[in-house]
Symmetry: C2
Subunit: 524 residues, 2 copies
């Protein structure tokens, strides 16, 4: 089922097979070898995507929703082969990947529902007012249209939910944008399986073959070439800050700049408020360590920073967290590269003069396993060295003891943009919590109370985004229904006769969508 070819529309390109996936649990390379996509494939995929755009962007809502559901069904139909291959390529356990498949399928179905509802079109009609003085008002109608072909760069840490058929692809297709995926080199086989499921859905639904292409590869030339292609209209990316900023730069320097939605880095501050810390500090420690070490901490929303007032209550929390972590089993990381980078980040903190090591997790007996790490410092030291606020991707956290409430606020004010911020609060913390919530909201896309930031709900409310550098565009989210908005733009039609209007804007409302008429919402 996996042959390492490049999928360009309905066709397969047999490229020079240059790279293989690596099983991070053994270091062994896996069959088959995969083709490196080059300039010819970028050009062919983008040409097909541009050719598919006019018809695909105007598919009716039923057709487009059915297409998203067909992708979901086809992914499920791959069966256990998908899970087995993803396990081998990512080192992630079966239960996690089965859950992630469910999430991926659920995400496609959510967007099918979003498409059917049609609210994303934001249909707005201002009827003509021929008798208005001093000038008559023309008939004006507005809807959103798809931006154009979208390039998607998947993440290593969610080989299903944030990769080939993940949130960026689902939301771009839902918007009516053809998608060209740059296949992630860490899970090329998983990518190919999902790509074939999408390719089959395109054919089954009778859509233009250019709606989807899959370009596996390892080179910067592939990623850069795709973003630079004049037919690409937007980019979705999940990954490192360096990688995301490189794409942002290429996109900004094009003759026609395009938006890049890069979800990059976040240390997800958690503030333990005094009453909560006193009442349940020791009890919180295991939950914190679990959130920190789950999946080897390879989550965008991993809690990498804990803030609290210095004192015996914090000391007790730190001690207990250290004890729990010291017994935590090491967890397989996704790739040798990610593991090396994690070890390097942790080693730098271990050697840092202003930081003490609270605990490390158990030493494993395999390769590429993450030993969790908890560090401690104080607010003055944390503020003095910006490097202490940089993400170490993996299960590494730094606990910052603050002198008083003002110092907590000061640390927060100095933070970069984040995906999430969390408060642990209890009766007695009301005033401090009320002060903190707006400060934290100004820095993040999501504020949580009495929970842990890992676990990202795919819903209408989710904001998996946040101010720079958490993402390159803090006005957006890459998870949840709102993600579709990233790939749309408004177009106004003035004085067009019915026959020339797109169907959704016609008087009879043939698509049955909610409309704002003369400023007032009328339901579907």
């Amino acid at each position: 089922m996996i042959n390492g070819n490049i999928l360009v529309g309905a066709a397969e390109h047999v490229g020079e097979a240059t790279f293989r996936a690596v099983d991070p649990a053994t270091g062994a390379t896996l069959d088959p070898a995969f083709a490196e996509s080059g300039k010819a494939e970028i050009d062919a995929a983008c040409a097909l995507a541009a050719a598919a755009y006019p018809s695909f962007s105007e598919t009716d809502l039923t057709t487009r929703a059915a297409f998203l559901e067909a992708i979901a069904d086809n992914i499920v139909a791959i069966g256990d082969d998908l899970i087995v291959r993803a396990m081998a390529e990512s080192g992630l356990p079966r239960v996690r990947l089965e859950g992630e498949r469910g999430r991926t399928v659920g995400q496609l179905k959510l967007f099918a529902n979003v498409v059917r509802a049609g609210d994303f079109l934001d249909v707005t009609i201002d009827p003509a007012m021929p008798d208005r003085a001093p000038l008559p008002r023309p008939d004006m109608r507005r809807r959103n249209i798809a931006l154009g072909p979208v390039a998607v760069f998947g993440a290593s840490n969610f080989p299903l939910a944030f990769s080939t058929g993940g949130g960026d692809t689902a939301s771009a297709l839902a918007a009516g944008c053809p998608v060209v995926v740059k296949g992630h080199p860490a899970h090329p086989g998983t990518g190919e399986l999902v790509a074939r499921a999408i390719q089959k859905a395109v054919a089954d639904c009778g859509l233009h073959e250019g709606v989807f292409s899959f370009l596996p590869g390892t080179t910067h030339e592939l990623g850069g070439g795709l973003v630079a292609d004049p037919r690409i209209a937007a980019v979705g990316f999940t990954g490192s800050r360096g990688g995301g900023l490189a794409l942002v730069k290429i996109a900004a320097e094009r003759a026609v700049p395009i938006p890049v939605y890069a979800e990059m880095s976040s240390i997800n501050p958690v503030v333990l408020l005094p009453a909560a810390l006193a009442a349940r500090g020791a009890a919180m420690a295991p939950a914190f360590v679990q959130s920190l070490t789950m999946g080897a901490g390879q989550f965008c929303t991993n809690p990498g920073l804990v803030l609290a007032l210095a004192g015996p209550e914090l000391d007790a929390f730190v001690e207990e967290a250290g004890k729990v972590l010291a017994e935590a089993k090491p967890v397989q990381m996704l790739t040798p590269g990610i593991h090396a980078s994690f070890e390097q980040g942790v080693a730098a903190l271990e050697k840092h003069d202003a930081v003490t090591v609270v605990a490390r997790g158990c030493v494993g007996d395999g390769v590429n396993q993450a030993r969790g790490a908890i560090f401690r410092t104080d607010a003055a030291q944390f503020i003095a060295d910006a490097a202490l606020g940089h993400e170490v991707f993996g299960s590494s956290a730094i606990i910052v003891a603050c002198r008083d409430q003002d110092e907590i606020a000061q640390v927060i004010a100095g933070l970069e943009g984040q995906l999430t911020a969390t408060i642990q609060h209890d009766a007695g913390d009301e005033a401090m919590a009320a002060m903190l919530v707006p400060l934290l909201a100004a820095k993040v896309g999501r504020v949580l109370a009495n929970g842990w930031p890992t676990g990202v709900e795919v819903s209408h409310t989710m904001v998996h985004g946040g101010p720079f550098p958490a993402t390159s565009d803090g006005r957006t989210t890459s998870v949840g229904a709102l993600a579709i908005d990233r790939f749309l733009r408004p177009v106004c039609y003035q004085s067009l006769p019915e026959a020339l209007l797109p169907p959704v804007l016609r008087d009879a409302n043939p698509w049955g969508v909610a409309r704002r008429m003369d400023g007032k919402m009328t339901p579907a």
Copy 2:
């Protein structure tokens, strides 16, 4: 009433008075001299804006709407002094400026209504599902919050509606963003009068003084310094392509990049379809020339490009348009610089080998007056030289004769992004019109039929935007209710107790806004 000072919050800074407005009708300089805002004023205005942000962004909807209406009232209350000063500084006639004042006031009132309705907050609630398997769903609530302080750069061609108190300022304030205006040097007195009206509204409404500052000046250091200031979160700009792109570059190179909404250049293609041209070609000519020469063509939506099939019908239209233009009186332009630049652009076309001059307007007896210009070429020549598709700001248009329908489509496909596109169609043009509308929609923010693009309605449907380089962000509009979205970002609140939630997200819906509950819209 006008003293040339810099308005920083509630205070006046007496700077070094270095520049004066020029009456373009006479070339004479006007009193008083105006202060040049420098680094100290940028710093003070941005510090105040940042200080105002927490309270202003959380003002309740009634307070914020009343503030916008107070600005409108205060602008009206300036009375005729505003019109007289604006006439002297812009050369625009009284009737136009009175109309523009009405538009400016209407715009502020539209945003007051948008604020009161509260839909812009996009309140979305997914209630907790404690019994959901395998994992319970937490209570999640989302709303939009203001991005932060916004820098506004006004346009010369609308000293009221697109300047100090114009659409960018109105929509940013409506979103809850403090505003720092970089005063336009072509109409500093008009700017100061409006700025004082806004400053007074801030005080009257009891808001933080940092909600608004006005920094007059002429230097690139002022504009660049304002965009580079780390406290500025977004930029609104209307003006030249060079100016807009310079600000985009500065914003992209900041440590924390920010969005720039620059509305830059557009030649607004008009396609005359064969049946329409045959039936009413001669009749369309005066309307075309009127749209072209109104306000000396100093509109973003001026029709600078006409496409039609070559033949006697087009020749008749061209001849008639030439006749009408040859009798058109010259019109005062806004500034000597704009006039010089218009003359330079027209002279280049006059000398162009591939272009013939159809007609020029009458020669005037004053200074800085625009003589309209209509040129003609064919599609092959137009496609061969990209310079023919560049905007000449003012009443200059080029008519392009095309061999057939395919060649019209080819010219359109090669166009840069535009604000508008227009078709003139009639019975018999149905098939061609149906082919053209989607092609044109892919290039523009607004498609018109049987009208002319000048005249931009301030409404819920308006899209005064379009793909690059018409604007720097084709996902947005700078006119109409949707303009508020530019200055917002979503924040999700997970498992927060009622007391910690922003009021608008609380169960009781104390602000009475429409909410999406579990995916379903519930009206206000």
